[in-house]
């Protein structure tokens, strides 16, 4: 599948450069451009990237394989040729369309959202840079180039979380994300070393081709798989490295939508999907992936039920949904995982942008306890948020229903992790799906429905957002509603999405239970979603939240609101001791090193002063010293004797 630049598919490989051009333009000259220009430049850059991605997509529709281009050889040494290349296939094209498509809408939204910010040129430069780095990540055919994108998106994430860095909490949140991600990155680097040692290559297509020649469950593949999982847990906020994502909400809301919901956090899913032939040969590693995913999904869903910040609820929901994707990718349902990335990008970006619209209308208010009834005053935002809520809850015929059903079905029918509790995974995941519907109903109800709890001041200023902000909402709502039809349940209907991705992903055999079992699974997910929504309605609409207030007021509620104690545990186990050591070293530095050096300086300057006293400037004194010295020599010579 080697190709040349004349191939229209290769145009898609130019997308990162287009986004990068926008970033450079805004980064270098944006400060001097008048108000809406930086935003327009950024939107145009992403729109151009979206166009070439579309060209690539349509060029790809007509053929089976993708296109791999080797750009240059980065490190040709004996036994290992690290070449930098790009690959445009169904997998990277899907991610490119999501990144540039959803990214385009979020850029448009940002023009009005960030209009009053005096540093919005920096904002748009970073947002474009992020898109460029993310495109590099998904286009890379070499683990080295992939790592460049991987770190690039990490840097942009860090810079955008701390965009309003003058508030210390925001800067701390950025630092937390950066440090936690370093742990994952260490896993990535170790995995790359081991890959080079095992396969003698860092080119992903070669690694994938060779993985099939290894024995099923070979130890080398398992180790590599587990190390790449460490990398993925960092970037995709999975247990136990998920703690950075809720704090990442300190960044501007469109950033949360683009980076911390729709695209960057799915990089871990992409990485494993890209290496799916390797994972398909490593059932133990795959089982760990699935179990990490289900634990994350469950923990985050429990934490989401107790949050009071409009964005933190969505952040925990994102972690939980990423857990669903990890389960899918662990059980071998690779297409289902990518499909959930695809649908989740629409409804989660939609939910975040709706939250941003609310925050914008309430001038920075983020506490859901001071919201309520907003849907009556913000019709467009409220309606699109409702569609997003129903989609993520898994209401039939909306996009989230199909992707979640594909994951649940894939888990039940998995052969890859059949011996590692695939049925338990299914039950836990199904329960989590119910929790999802429940906490998302709570989110919607607290913000958009029920009685208004706004302050009089806020209620007076409340307004629907401008068309530049509501238009992306409506478009995303349309996708969140209808995108699911691309991936109908495969056992009974044609599944376009799965067929489209098939050439780019490993194919794992699945169980084929009788048709009525498959339909029963679909029914189960419908029932669970309905039960979650009904429970939410029962508690928050009918019971006015009294039961929730009673349950959430106690220690359990505080435990859940604190993210199930992970932050406290890390503080006790890692941050506290590290700060203790740092404080000890600071004392050593100040009281031992600094004081010791200061004492040395004082002593030598004192000696210098004493010696300098000899240098009086009086020539006759110098002469006296000379004569005295001469006399001393004469005396010594006389006493000792001048001759040998």
């Amino acid at each position: 599948m080697n190709g040349t630049w004349s191939d229209p598919l290769a145009w898609a490989a130019l997308a990162p450069l287009l986004a990068l051009a926008g970033a450079l333009l805004n980064g270098l000259f944006g400060r001097r451009l008048p108000e809406p220009v930086p935003g327009v430049v950024a939107v145009l850059a992403v729109a151009a990237a979206f166009l070439v991605s579309l060209v690539g997509f349509f060029a790809l529709l007509g053929r089976d394989g993708g296109l791999a281009l080797t750009l240059w050889s980065f490190l040709p040494v004996a036994g290992l040729d690290v070449s930098v290349g790009v690959v445009v296939d169904a997998l990277s094209a899907t991610f490119m369309l999501v990144i540039t498509g959803v990214g385009l809408l979020i850029h448009v939204y940002s023009i009005d959202y960030m209009r009053d910010d005096e540093e919005n040129a920096r904002y748009f430069a970073l947002l474009n840079l992020f898109v460029a780095a993310m495109l590099v990540l998904v286009l890379a055919d070499s683990l080295v180039l992939l790592f460049v994108g991987w770190e690039g998106v990490g840097v942009c994430s860090y810079l955008l979380i701390g965009f309003w860095f003058r508030r210390k909490a925001n800067a701390d949140a950025g630092r937390k994300a950066f440090i936690v991600n370093r742990i994952g990155d260490a896993g990535f680097v170790l995995a790359s070393f081991l890959t080079a040692a095992t396969f003698g290559s860092l080119t992903i297509s070669e690694v994938n081709a060779q993985a099939g020649t290894f024995a099923y469950g070979a130890a080398a593949l398992t180790t590599i798989g587990l190390l790449f999982l460490v990398a993925a847990t960092g970037k995709s906020a999975q247990f136990p490295l998920h703690v950075w994502l809720p704090d990442a909400m300190a960044g501007p809301t469109p950033v949360s939508a683009l980076i911390h919901a729709a695209t960057m956090v799915t990089a871990g899913v992409y990485l494993i999907a890209r290496l799916s032939p390797l994972y398909a040969q490593a059932p133990e590693a795959s089982a760990v992936v699935a179990w990490v995913g289900v634990l994350t999904a469950l923990i985050a869903a429990l934490a989401a039920m107790a949050q009071t910040d409009i964005k933190r609820i969505l952040a925990f929901s994102t972690i939980s949904q990423l857990g669903f994707m990890f389960v899918a990718i662990g059980v071998g349902a690779y297409a289902a995982a990518v499909f959930h990335v695809f649908t989740h990008a629409f409804f989660k970006a939609l939910l975040f942008l709706a939250a941003g619209s609310v925050i914008h209308a309430l001038h920075g208010e983020q506490d859901v306890r001071r919201m309520g009834g907003l849907g009556r005053r913000m019709r467009l935002t409220g309606t699109s948020a409702l569609i997003g809520t129903l989609a993520i809850s898994g209401v039939p015929l909306l996009s989230g229903f199909f992707s979640k059903e594909a994951i649940l079905g894939g888990t039940w029918n998995s052969t890859l992790v059949e011996d590692y509790g695939s049925r338990v995974l299914f039950v836990l995941l199904l329960g989590t799906a119910g929790l999802t519907a429940f906490y998302m109903f709570r989110w919607y109800h607290r913000v958009f429905a029920g009685p208004s709890r706004l302050t009089k001041d806020a209620a007076a200023k409340l307004h629907e957002s401008s068309p530049l902000m509501t238009l992306p909402l409506l478009l995303l709502a349309a996708f969140a509603a209808f995108a699911g039809f691309l991936g109908l349940p495969a056992f009974a209907f044609p599944n376009w999405f799965k067929a489209w991705l098939a050439p780019a992903l490993a194919q794992v055999s699945t169980l084929h239970p009788p048709l009525w079992v498959e339909w029963l699974l679909v029914l189960a997910s419908i029932v669970v979603a309905g039960a979650g929504l009904a429970a939410g309605w029962w508690i928050y609409e009918r019971g006015k939240g009294a039961l929730a207030a009673k349950a959430g007021g106690g220690a359990l509620g505080r435990f859940a609101e604190g993210g199930l104690g992970f932050d406290a545990a890390y503080r006790a186990a890692a941050i506290g001791p590290a700060e203790g050591v740092a404080a000890g070293l600071a004392v050593a530095d100040r009281d031992l090193l600094d004081r010791g050096i200061a004492a040395g300086v004082t002593t030598s300057s004192w000696i210098g002063r004493a010696v300098a006293a000899w240098q009086s400037g009086y020539v006759r004194l110098y002469a006296l010293a000379m004569f005295l010295g001469l006399a001393a020599v004469a005396v010594v010579a006389a006493v000792v004797g001048g001759r040998p």
Partner: protein, 107 residues
């Protein structure tokens, strides 16, 4: 009359001591200079005295002592030329030749 070498050396030592004392106690640069000359010539006297003393044993030793004295005289002449030039320059600058006034070079 044959003056013994010890007398020359003793005179040389006395002259050297007078010169050294003069260098130390006189403040006028001219006088310091003269005393330096005195010390130089005290040394010259000692050298020629030794040269005469050893000439009876080894003719070459006597000659080389006198040669050294000529070299010292030549160097002293050159030194005087340079030294007096410096003195003139100093005198032009501050209208004084007091060496204690030249104490700026210190901490």
């Amino acid at each position: 009359m044959n003056v013994p070498t010890e007398a020359y050396v003793a005179l040389s030592g006395v002259l050297f001591a007078i010169g050294a004392a003069g260098v130390l106690v006189r403040r006028s640069a001219i006088m310091v200079f003269l005393n330096v000359e005195l010390m130089l010539n005290a040394a010259n006297l000692a050298i020629v005295a030794y040269a005469r003393h050893w000439a009876g044993f080894d003719a070459l030793a006597g000659l080389s002592g006198q040669t050294v004295v000529f070299i010292v005289l030549a160097v002293a002449a050159a030194e005087v030329a340079v030294g007096l030039a410096i003195l003139v320059a100093i005198f032009r600058d501050r209208a004084s030749s007091d060496v204690d006034g030249l104490a700026e070079v210190r901490l």
